[in-house]
Subunit: 215 residues, 2 copies
């Protein structure tokens, strides 16, 4: 698969598509229309058709796309040969939840180490991942360039600066803090409150029965 052939705007939508197609496959669905995909991933049908044409997936009128073909494509494209090591910073409730996930089951991502300052956690392993003291960040991080931030917001800036100094290039930020990083560092931000707020907003203003009548 030559990734250079896929426009970046299309690539940005791959994980969205992947998640939904994977859902359909689990439900035993064999095909999907661009309209169904559009409703689910909130991307207009024309864009979806154009994106899919880059993957060599050509939908048939009245049939749609083959779910298995799409899933095979997404797996090949998203799952890479090389394993990516990740460091998790902050072994609180959310951090611990992450450590209990088995990321290796579906893709080549490994949480290799975790950091915390709690003496009860330091020196233990959780979900097979060793927990080091946050004071040892610079000593232990060796080679890892992706970090998950599950620390209190008040600690986000200080930790981020230390991660950047150590050459981290990607951060998955679960803190409510808005961290400042050099522009070559990629930060994805997930705010649990915003996710809940979005759901509630849609329930209030776009109840699904009404939506169906409008469509």
């Amino acid at each position: 698969m030559d990734h250079n052939k896929i426009p970046q705007a299309t690539a940005k939508r791959l994980p969205l598509y992947y998640r939904f197609i994977n859902n359909l496959n689990h439900q035993g669905k064999k095909r999907v229309s661009s309209k169904e995909l559009s409703d689910a991933v909130k991307v207009d049908s024309a864009t979806i058709r154009r994106d899919f044409s880059y993957f060599g997936a050509l939908g048939k009128k009245g049939y749609g796309y083959n779910v298995e073909y799409l899933l095979g494509f997404f797996r090949k494209t998203l799952d890479q040969d090389e394993t990516t090591d990740v460091a998790l910073i902050g072994v609180g409730n959310l951090g611990t939840a992450f450590l209990h996930y088995n990321f290796m089951k579906n893709n080549n991502i490994l949480i290799k180490m975790a950091f915390d300052s709690d003496p009860e956690k330091v020196g233990t392993t959780i979900g097979d991942v060793p927990v080091y003291h946050i004071a040892d960040l610079e000593k232990k991080l060796d080679g890892v360039n992706v970090a998950i931030l599950t620390i209190p917001a008040s600690e986000a800036d200080g930790i981020t600066d230390r991660l950047v100094a150590e050459g981290i290039t990607g951060i998955l930020n679960f803190t409510p803090a808005r961290i400042t990083v050099p522009e070559y560092i990629r930060v994805h931000h997930i705010d649990l409150a915003v996710e809940l707020q979005a759901l509630v907003y849609f329930l209030k203003h776009y109840p699904l029965e009404e939506t169906k009548q409008l469509d």
Copy 2:
């Protein structure tokens, strides 16, 4: 604010816009261009300009949009007078993280109750939220119509059926399970593994330095 004036496709993008504008405001930024917004939220500039025209926000060439004005609009639109009660199902690590969030700080969403089967948790309160036994779901749920699922995947189907029978209309699903619900029920799905996978994919294929040269 008359929500009916905003097309649904535009409304779907509000939480995305809100998150990013809120970030900018925290960083002390006073203005933002549609290009900057486009890069951040992955929506093309023309769509952003059209969306914002519905909000009465008209960007000026060479200046962009006023961050404070946009934020005021989003707050007014997303924060509602009426509080929405939410039930959290599954007080494991992720569920406990949710209970420690103070959702009421920024919006009118309240996790009113939580359910679990662990006798050590049932009867306690976590983050001021009472934890009931999952066997009492039908008895306690009274009037709550939004649920957060933070239970093991294996329990997702059974619990979902019970929630649907009790009149739940919205589910924020954090389990890796793909739940099946009637079409009038809104399900938002957040998969921690997919979020991490997306970050790693972009780091590998679109390092930010390279991206800047291509733009």
